[in-house]
């Protein structure tokens, strides 16, 4: 092996962070070639209370972890050091990819564009069906991270010509400070920020977050506390509260409901949820019923039958929700957006691709009905 590998070459040229901070964005090395770092961050966390005896209480999420010195929160990404609570994952990215925005999924947000998607390790819940368990169910030191301070995120985003940054894959709530700072920096450059979250978060931080990001997709994992307790190890109520907060803030909101056969697919549950959505956030919030594909611990469960998803979609439509989608069933008619007034196809989709866009300045081209969303 005479040749040196690409990675070795980059190492000799200099650390990735150095390259990123001194050279304009077009000269940034490719994402996948970044050199991993062993160091975690030590940036003081937000939303915590100091208690006597160097104890702290985290108030970011409904778990309210109360921790002694040198203890970590449930998420594994925050640590009490000498009575000060730190985030260990500020700028420590473990996954960064470019995805179609439809994959997040956002259907009423810059259709046909890409999102620069990043995540750090850790999560504040523990879903048995997690798609990203290799990074969400571990501590940050158990994965390969690389340095990507907010400034570099913006640069990479520009380099790859993504109009949006998505905070996704794991639970962005656990890298709140990093997400917040990056959003502020990105907004200044005209980049949009979207959050893909389970919204297991307290009201105050949620409110603050809505001030700096443009859209939030919330995973409503079921509409029962039992399901949340058993399969998510979290609570439903804070999620519902968070949904209301996002709506009140006026920021764009979409809801995803991953339908797992027999666990959260009962018509009663779907109807109850639809009624709640209509009552609390109105009929214009898009709702996606996504097909469960066997993952992680329940890898051997059957995938969701398409008819179950169709039934759920029909219930939600019956209840008056205007934009109801079926996810992960490529080619299904439930992937497209229909005008609630004239019933024509406004945006025709196939999987992650936009086949036809009949929107004119945010309105249906056939009848002029405004379709809510962020379209440009």
């Amino acid at each position: 092996m005479g040749k040196i590998s690409r990675r070795d070459f980059l190492k000799t040229v200099g650390g990735a962070g150095l390259v990123a901070s001194t050279i304009p964005s077009s000269f940034l090395i490719d994402l996948y070639a970044l050199t991993p770092t062993r160091k975690l961050s030590q940036v003081e966390a937000w939303f915590y209370k100091k208690l006597p005896d160097k104890e702290i209480k985290c108030e970011l999420c409904p778990r309210y972890c109360q921790l002694g010195d040198r203890e970590r929160g449930y998420c594994g990404a925050r640590e009490n050091r000498n009575g000060i609570y730190y985030t260990l994952v500020y700028g420590k990215v473990c996954a960064a990819h470019i995805d179609p925005i439809e994959k997040k999924p956002f259907f009423h947000f810059l259709p046909g564009t890409t999102a620069f998607s990043i995540a750090t390790a850790g999560c504040n819940v523990n879903c048995k069906f997690c798609q990203n368990w290799q990074i969400s169910q571990v501590r940050p030191e158990q994965v390969e991270n690389f340095d990507l301070p907010p400034r570099d995120v913006v640069r990479y985003c520009l380099k790859y010509r993504c109009p949006t940054i998505a905070y996704t894959y794991t639970e962005p709530v656990i890298f709140y400070e990093y997400m917040y700072d990056t959003s502020v920096k990105a907004s200044k450059k005209g980049i949009r920020n979207v959050v893909v979250t389970g919204a297991h978060i307290n009201p105050e931080p949620m409110k603050k977050l809505t001030e700096v990001v443009d859209a939030i997709k919330i995973d409503l994992k079921a509409f029962s506390e039992e399901f949340y307790k058993e399969y998510v190890r979290g609570e439903l109520k804070p999620v519902l509260d968070a949904i209301k907060i996002v709506k009140e803030s006026g920021k764009w909101l979409e809801i995803v409901y991953l339908v797992i056969p027999t666990l959260n697919d009962s018509p009663e549950e779907i109807r109850k949820m639809s009624k709640w959505i209509i009552k609390e956030v109105g009929p214009d919030v898009p709702v996606h019923f996504s097909r469960f594909h066997p993952m992680y611990l329940i890898k051997n469960l059957p995938p969701t039958p398409v008819s179950t998803l169709e039934r759920a979609r029909n219930i939600a439509l019956e209840e008056g929700i205007n934009y109801v989608y079926i996810g992960n069933v490529p080619g299904h008619k439930g992937e497209s957006t229909y005008c609630p007034s004239c019933k024509n196809v406004v945006i025709k989709r196939f999987a992650y691709q936009i086949l036809k866009n009949n929107l004119r300045k945010g309105k249906c081209k056939f009848c002029g009905q405004p379709i809510p969303g962020i379209w440009s």
């Binding site: 996948y32 470019i98 990074i135 056969p261 329940i298 890898k299 051997n300 469960l301 992650y352 691709q353």
Partner: protein, 711 residues
Amino acid sequence: MNFLFPFLLGFTALSFQIFLMREFVAHYYGNEITYGLILAFWLLWGGIGSLIANKIKYSFSTFTLFYYSLIFFFPFSLIFLRYSRFIYKILPGEITGILPILITSLFLTLLICFPLGALFVLNVKFFKGKIALVYLMEALGSSIGGVLTYFLLIPFFSNWNSSLIIIGFVTICLFLLEKGKRKIYAVLLIPFILFLIFLDKPTQKHYWKPFNFIESKDTLYGKLSIIKTEEQLSLYDNGLLVYSYPDIINAEEAVHFALIQRPNAKSLLLIGGGIGGAIAQALKYKNLKIEYVELDPQIIKFSMKYLPEKEKKYLKGKRVKIYFRDGRAFLNNVKKKYDVIILNLPEPSTAQINRFYTYEFFKLVKQKLSKQGVFSFKVSSSENYINLPLQKLLSSLYFTLKKVFKNVEVVPGDTNIFIGSDAPVTLDYMELGKRIEKLQLNNMWVNSYTLFSRLMEERINSLYEKIKSKEAKINLDLVPISYFYNSILWATHFKGLESKILTFFSEIPKFWLLDFPLILFLIILFIIILLKRVRFYSYLLPVWLMGFTTISLELIIIIAFQVNFGYVYQKIALLFSAFMFGLFCGALLGKKIKKIISLNLIFIQFCFMVLTFIAWKFIEIKWAEIFPYIFLFLMGFLGGLLFVVANELFLKKEKNYGIGYALDLFGSFLGALTLSTILIPLIGLPLLTKYIFLANSFCFLFLIPFFRTQH
């Protein structure tokens, strides 16, 4: 008539073991570690049972009580198995960590094996110390139990009904053996057994809740279950999802990535996984003739009962030929060449399946491919981040495939599809999209609408950076490293210690796995020689080693056999039977020897040394098919002989009936625990047999001084 007692012991032990194992892997995730653990605990409790039974005061009623407890506990353990998931709050089909497997198997084997171990000693007491007779009859019982189970019960009855037949048989025997009024106990068991007949289906239905369980069928190879969710049908094989129907995404993923590389391919060989939509997808290529090899005919026959007409028509179509054979054996014998070969089997989680992911297998595939031919297989992966164990697994597969094919590409995503060929292959989504359009495949998932994001340059590069950047170990037939990586990956699903333990073993130098235990063994031998007073115990040392050696070589020979001749149920069953019949013959000869002297033992140990030497020298050679049968028979023969001879020598000095049997089982326990889980994948068969030979040679040398102290 009394000889039936020890006969029943061997008979039930073997048949119960087979059925418990079959049921266990149908309910818990069955990888090599699971198999290793159950077998190990089985042997461990047997050993402990026989040690403790030595202290039990013998009476005829306690003696028979143990038989009754067996009859009661065995069906109980099967039922318990089906309900145990509720204790751990896991769903059917949920992947379980080592802890639930450990606790459940410890408990179940305790219920059955403790009485089994105790019964050996009680039998010896019943026969007033005639250990050779008991061992002989036990060996006969297990030989007959094995043959009966493998050839008469499993092929024709479900696990449940087979177990009841065995229990019924034991009950009848007990009725005959019991004295006078006590016969009533056996009669009382009849309603209990009749009641059990009706419990099979309801307990399975409970197990599958909240899913709608329709029917199950025990085949030669595993338990098939059909589950229905709405209009969707799902087939499970030993708790693993084989397919859901309809499930377009999986069906398309299975074949298109390989076929689209050669849009004009004329012939496809599909190894496994054709049912559930894959064949229908492949038939979209108009000129393609499909040969589909499936190991278990029941997968298709059983599915046919439930699949809609449309799907059945595809399978019966003119362009499709189905063969029921082991995929590897099929490839070995087939004369023609194919344009595309697709392997669509479960992941390499056991040594049995690992054979399809090795360098030798890939080479065989290449021989059966046309010049432009393409080979592909899939492994489930992780789209956004690849952790270290997954990286190791994927790397080992990548480099193994790359060693055989000039061009290898891997499709990123939650499933990685490996494509190898000596001619060019491409992952250019524009090109692939064009081909898909031109052929009018009308795919829902594998089409340009998804490929543009899945095959984005950045995605491909980040996958390649992970799997190509570091050299990895090649997966070989005799050093099946990939299944070990698969075990570590499984272990990382849980936040417990298991992944740390496995990673630890994968990183320590071979010295600690091989030389260190051998040196330790040597030191123990020396200590025994130095402590002259306990010398008579040393007669039993070869028994312990024999337990270890026989189970180890049994595992090794079975793996090597499957590599060479494929997995053929009857042959594997016959291999086990050959060993057990050997045990019986060995014990018979041992019983015939009039005056047993230590020279006998030394000679047998010498034979063991020679036999292990042969194993070492022959393991890498492709032998005639008859060889492993003869080998296992001889090993059984020597094992049985050694057990009888060593125990007779020992019992002359001390009347402790349990210890010899216990040591045999403890040796086997150690072998079962360490070999399949750690040593085979990490060390490989050739080196391992060498060290087994060395251990046996040391034992032989250790025995030589006894020749001089002849009585």
